[in-house]
C-alpha cells in the first residue's frame, strides 16, 4: 500500500513537504487531482499518480496547466473535492481560466497549489504568486512548515467550500523540498461521482451575467477578509514593542532568530498564513503596540505595502521596513543568518555573527555545472544540427526542458528563451525580421503543452524556419512523467491513447517533415540539411528515448565503448560532443565504462574510427 494511504490516526511519518501536501489532500477526501509537472511541485503529483493506481482518486497529467485547471474547475462544480497542482509559472498558463473561475466559483472544494521558486533553483523567473490572489480576488494560504502544510491543505478545502471559491495554496521550493515528521489524521469520507445542475446565469459569464458575478466576487472577498481576521493561520506569538511580521519559511528563520538573539519579552511576531485578503484589523492592532516594525518576506514587498497602507490609515508614523538596500532584498531566498543579522541591525541589537573561515587560500575548484547525461539523445541531435548548419548564420530559439542545457558549450545550441512553447512563436518573429537561418528546439512534452498553437501560426502566416522536435518519449526534466506522446503500455498502464507528433505536424499542413534517429549521425545530418534548405516551415522530429528513462524501462543495454590505440588525439569527441563519460588521463582520451551507455555517437564522429565497443 502507498505510504500516504495509511489510514492510521496518530501514526507519525517522515514526509517531504510535497508528500505532506498530497497527504493533506488525501485526508481531506480529495477525489479529483490534475497537474502539469513542474519543479518544485512535481512530487505532489507523483504521489497522486501512484495513489490513483490503488484507490478511487481520479488523477491525470493534463497537457498543460490551463487544461488541468479547467478539468478541476468542472469537477469542483460537480461537487467533488478537487486539487490542481503546478509550479509558479504554470499559473501564468492557467491564469486565463483562473481569473474567470473566480467569478464562477465552485461547489466542492478546489485547492490550487502553486509552488514559487525563490532563487530559481529550477525556474526561469522568481515571480511572486501572491499577486495572483490580488488580481483574481481569491484567498491565499501559505504554510511555514511541512507539518503545517498537511493540515492547511485540509483547511483550504473547507475554506473553499465555505466561500464557494477556489483557494490558492502557495508554497516555495524550501517548503516543498523540506522534510519533517508529520502526524497522520483519519480520512474524511468523500464522493467520487458528482452532478452538474444547469444554471447558465451562474455559469456562463456573458457580460450581463459577469457583471453580477463580479459583484458577488467582491462580496466573497469581504467575507474572506473576515475569516482572515480570525484565522488560526494568522497568529501572534511573544510580546514586546519590537514587531516582526513574516510569512512562509521566513517565519522559521524569524522564530529561530528571536530565540538566538534572546528577544523574549522584547519582540512579538505576527505570522501571516492567510495572506489574501490580509487581516486588516489584526494587523492594525498588532501595529498599535509597536515602536518599530520589520517585515520579513521573500520575494516582493507584498505584505509590506499592505501593512504600510494600514499604518497610514491609523496615522501611525513609526518606522516600518522590509525591502531596503541595507535590509532585505527582493532577490533570492532568505536564510537564518541573513534574517538574524537584519533583525539585529534594524532593532540595534548587539550581535556578533559566527565567523566564516578565511577562504582566500582555497584554490579554484573546478565547477560542476549541470550537464546533459551520458548517452543523452539531445546531445546527438544538437551535434547533428550544428554540423548540418555549418556555414550558416543561425538563431536558435530553445525551450523548457533538459535540452535547455544545450545552450552550454561545446554544443552552444540555444539563443533565446521565454517560457514553455516560446521557441516556436519567437522563431516566427526572428525569421520575419532577420535574414538569418532560424532553427528552433522544443521537447515532446513542451510541444504538446504549448508548442502546437505556435506551429499552426507559423504555417498559416507562412513563416520561414526549421523546428527540431526533440522527442525523447517522456517528460524527462521533472522526473519522467507521462505526456500524450508517451507509450503508456511500456509502463503497463491501461486506459490511454497515444498521440503522434508526426501526424499533428502533417495535419497542420506542413509538407516538409523529417524523422531522424539521432544516434545515426550521418543520416540525421542529411535529413536536417534538407530541412534547413527548405523555404517555409520545416520540421524534423528526433526520436530516441531519454537515456535514464530507457534504463528505468530495463531496455536491453548496449555495450560501452573505449578509445583504442588508433586515437590520434584530434579530440573531436571532447571538443565538439562533450559527453561526460570522457576523461583525459596521461594526455589520452578515455571513456568511463560505468558511465558510457553505448550510444555510439562519438564512435561515428571520430576521424580515425578509434572508438570501438568493448568486447565481451
Amino acid at each position: 500500500m502507498h505510504k500516504l494511504l495509511i489510514n492510521n490516526s496518530g501514526e507519525k511519518l517522515l514526509l517531504l513537504g510535497n508528500e505532506a501536501i498530497a497527504r493533506g489532500a488525501v485526508e481531506a477526501g480529495v477525489a479529483f487531482a490534475t497537474t502539469y509537472p513542474g519543479t518544485p511541485s512535481s512530487e505532489i503529483a507523483t504521489n497522486f499518480f501512484q495513489i490513483s493506481q490503488e484507490s478511487d482518486l481520479y488523477f491525470e497529467y493534463s497537457v498543460n496547466e490551463k487544461v488541468a485547471l479547467e478539468l478541476a474547475a468542472a469537477a469542483a462544480n460537480c461537487g467533488l473535492r478537487s486539487i490542481c497542482v503546478m509550479k509558479h509559472v504554470g499559473l501564468n498558463v492557467a491564469a486565463d481560466a483562473l481569473l474567470t473561475l473566480a467569478y464562477i466559483g465552485v461547489k466542492g472544494g478546489l485547492v490550487i497549489v502553486t509552488a514559487d521558486d525563490p532563487y530559481m533553483f529550477s525556474s526561469q523567473n522568481e515571480q511572486d504568486n501572491r499577486y495572483y490572489g490580488k488580481i483574481s480576488g481569491l484567498p491565499i494560504l501559505e504554510p511555514s512548515s511541512v507539518e503545517e502544510a498537511k493540515n492547511m491543505v485540509i483547511d483550504a478545502f473547507e475554506l473553499s467550500e465555505k466561500l464557494e471559491e477556489p483557494v490558492i495554496f502557495r508554497t516555495t521550493t524550501r517548503l516543498n523540498h523540506s522534510t519533517s515528521v508529520v502526524n497522520l489524521k483519519p480520512f474524511v469520507s468523500h464522493t467520487t461521482r458528482g452532478d452538474f445542475k444547469k444554471d447558465p446565469f451562474q455559469y456562463v459569464p456573458v457580460p450581463a451575467v459577469a457583471r453580477n458575478l463580479h459583484a458577488r466576487l467582491l462580496e466573497r472577498i469581504e467575507k474572506a477578509e473576515k475569516i482572515s481576521e480570525t484565522s488560526p493561520y494568522n497568529f501572534i506569538i511573544g510580546d514586546g514593542s519590537l514587531g516582526i511580521i513574516c510569512n512562509g519559511v521566513s517565519y522559521n528563520y524569524v522564530y529561530d532568530a528571536v530565540q538566538d538573539l534572546k528577544l523574549e519579552g522584547l519582540a512579538k511576531i505576527l505570522r501571516i498564513g492567510f495572506s489574501n485578503p490580509m487581516p486588516r484589523a489584526l494587523i492594525k492592532n498588532f501595529l498599535k503596540g509597536c515602536e518599530k516594525v520589520l517585515v520579513v518576506e521573500e520575494g516582493e514587498a507584498y505584505m509590506e505595502e499592505a501593512i504600510k497602507a494600514f499604518a497610514q490609515e491609523e496615522g501611525l508614523t513609526f518606522s516600518i521596513k522590509g525591502k531596503e538596500e541595507n535590509l532585505f532584498s527582493r532577490l533570492y531566498e532568505f536564510n537564518p543568518r541573513l534574517v538574524r543579522q537584519c533583525i539585529a541591525k534594524y532593532f540595534n541589537l548587539n550581535h556578533t555573527p559566527v565567523e566564516i573561515p578565511d577562504l582566500s587560500d582555497i584554490p579554484e575548484i573546478p565547477q560542476r555545472p549541470p550537464n546533459l547525461c551520458p548517452g543523452c539523445s539531445h546531445r546527438a541531435t544538437f551535434y547533428a544540427v550544428k554540423k548540418a548548419a555549418e556555414g550558416m548564420t543561425t538563431i536558435c530559439p530553445t525551450d523548457i526542458g533538459c535540452y535547455t542545457l544545450g545552450f552550454l558549450p561545446p554544443l552552444s545550441m540555444g539563443d533565446f528563451l521565454l517560457c514553455m512553447g516560446s521557441s516556436i512563436g519567437t522563431s516566427c518573429g526572428f525569421s520575419k525580421v532577420t535574414d538569418k537561418k532560424v532553427i528552433a528546439f522544443i521537447g515532446d512534452s513542451t510541444f504538446f503543452h504549448s508548442g502546437i498553437p505556435g506551429l499552426v501560426n507559423a504555417f498559416f502566416n507562412q513563416h520561414n524556419f526549421t523546428l527540431i522536435i526533440l522527442d525523447n518519449g517522456i517528460t524527462a526534466m521533472t522526473g519522467h512523467q507521462p505526456n500524450p506522446g508517451v507509450d503508456m503500455k511500456a509502463l503497463n498502464l491501461e486506459g490511454y491513447q497515444r498521440v503522434s507528433i508526426e501526424n499533428i505536424v502533417k495535419a497542420i499542413g506542413i509538407s516538409h517533415v523529417g524523422v531522424i534517429r539521432p544516434f545515426n549521425i550521418k543520416k540525421s545530418i542529411n535529413t536536417i540539411k534538407e530541412a534547413l534548405d527548405f523555404k517555409g516551415v520545416s520540421v524534423v522530429i528526433s526520436k530516441e528515448l531519454c537515456a535514464l528513462y530507457a534504463k528505468s524501462l530495463k531496455k536491453p543495454s548496449r555495450k560501452p565503448f573505449f578509445v583504442s590505440e588508433k586515437c590520434k588525439n584530434h579530440r573531436e569527441c571532447i571538443n565538439n560532443l562533450g559527453c561526460p563519460a570522457f576523461f583525459i588521463e596521461d594526455n589520452r582520451v578515455k571513456i568511463n565504462q560505468d558511465m558510457c551507455v553505448g550510444c555510439a555517437v562519438c564512435a561515428q564522429i571520430c576521424p580515425e574510427n578509434a572508438i570501438i565497443p568493448v568486447k565481451d
Binding site: 517522515l14 582555497i362 584554490p363 579554484e364 573546478p366 550537464n371 542545457l405 583525459i584
Partner: protein, 198 residues
C-alpha cells in the same frame, strides 16, 4: 534540545538523499526532533546535491554560511567547496575518493591536490576525519554503499543526538531488503575507520 546542524554534500547519484532519509528515520525512531531540506540543481545526474539536517528544536530547515556543526562530504572537492558552511568549531568528515568534475576531467581546470586539500581543511576547522570511503564500500560488497560507510563514520563522532543502533534500525527498516546486510557491513566499516582515526 541544543540544535545540531549537519550539512551533507555529494555528487548526484552518490546516495546522499538516502543517507539523509536514514538520518531522518533514525531521528523519528529516537524521538529526536528533526527537520531537513535538500537542493539539487537542474541536471538529474552529475551536479552537486546538498542536504541540510537540523536536529533539535530549530524551526529552520536550512543552514547558513559558517553555521554547520558537522560537514559530511561524499566527494573531496565538494567538501572543500562547502567549507564556507563551516566555522572553527566544525567537524568535517570526508571521503577521499574523487569524482573529478567533467571540466577537470577534460583538462579544463585542475582538480585540487588531495594532500593539500586535507591540510587546508584541517587548518580551518576543529577536526578533519578523512579516508577512502569508496574502498570500504567495495569491501562491504557494493560501491553504492558509500553512503552507509560515511553514515558509520558520522555516527562514530558522537556529535549527533542519535546512537549507531538508531541508525542501524533505520537502515534495516528503510533500505531495500537485498541490501540490508551490505549496508550494515558498510556502516560498521565506516564506524571503525573513523574510530581508527580518532
Amino acid at each position: 534540545m541544543k540544535t545540531i546542524r549537519l550539512i551533507i554534500v555529494a555528487v548526484g547519484g552518490q546516495g546522499n538523499l538516502l543517507a539523509s532519509k536514514i538520518l531522518g528515520e533514525a531521528s523519528l525512531i529516537a524521538g529526536v526532533p528533526v527537520r531537513m531540506s535538500e537542493i539539487h540543481g537542474m541536471a538529474q545526474r552529475g551536479g552537486v546535491v546538498e542536504s541540510a539536517i537540523l536536529f533539535g528544536d530549530a524551526k529552520s530547515t536550512i543552514i547558513s554560511e559558517g553555521e554547520s556543526d558537522v560537514l559530511l562530504g561524499f566527494e573531496p572537492s565538494e567538501t572543500l567547496r562547502a567549507l564556507n558552511k563551516c566555522n572553527s568549531g566544525t567537524v568535517v568528515i570526508t571521503n577521499l575518493s574523487p569524482i573529478p568534475p567533467f571540466t577537470a576531467a577534460i583538462g579544463k581546470g585542475n582538480y585540487p591536490d588531495l594532500a593539500k586539500l586535507q591540510n587546508l581543511i584541517r587548518a580551518k576547522v576543529a577536526r578533519l576525519i578523512a579516508f577512502d570511503a569508496f574502498s570500504l564500500a567495495k569491501q562491504a560488497g557494493d560501491i553504492m554503499a558509500l553512503n552507509m560507510v560515511l553514515l558509520g563514520s558520522l555516527l562514530q563522532t558522537g556529535i549527533l543526538p542519535l546512537s549507531a543502533d538508531h541508525v542501524k534500525e533505520a537502515i534495516r527498516t528503510k533500505t531495500k531488503k537485498a541490501y540490508i546486510e551490505t549496508n550494515i557491513k558498510a556502516f560498521d566499516l565506516g564506524f571503525s575507520a573513523a574510530k581508527a582515526l580518532s
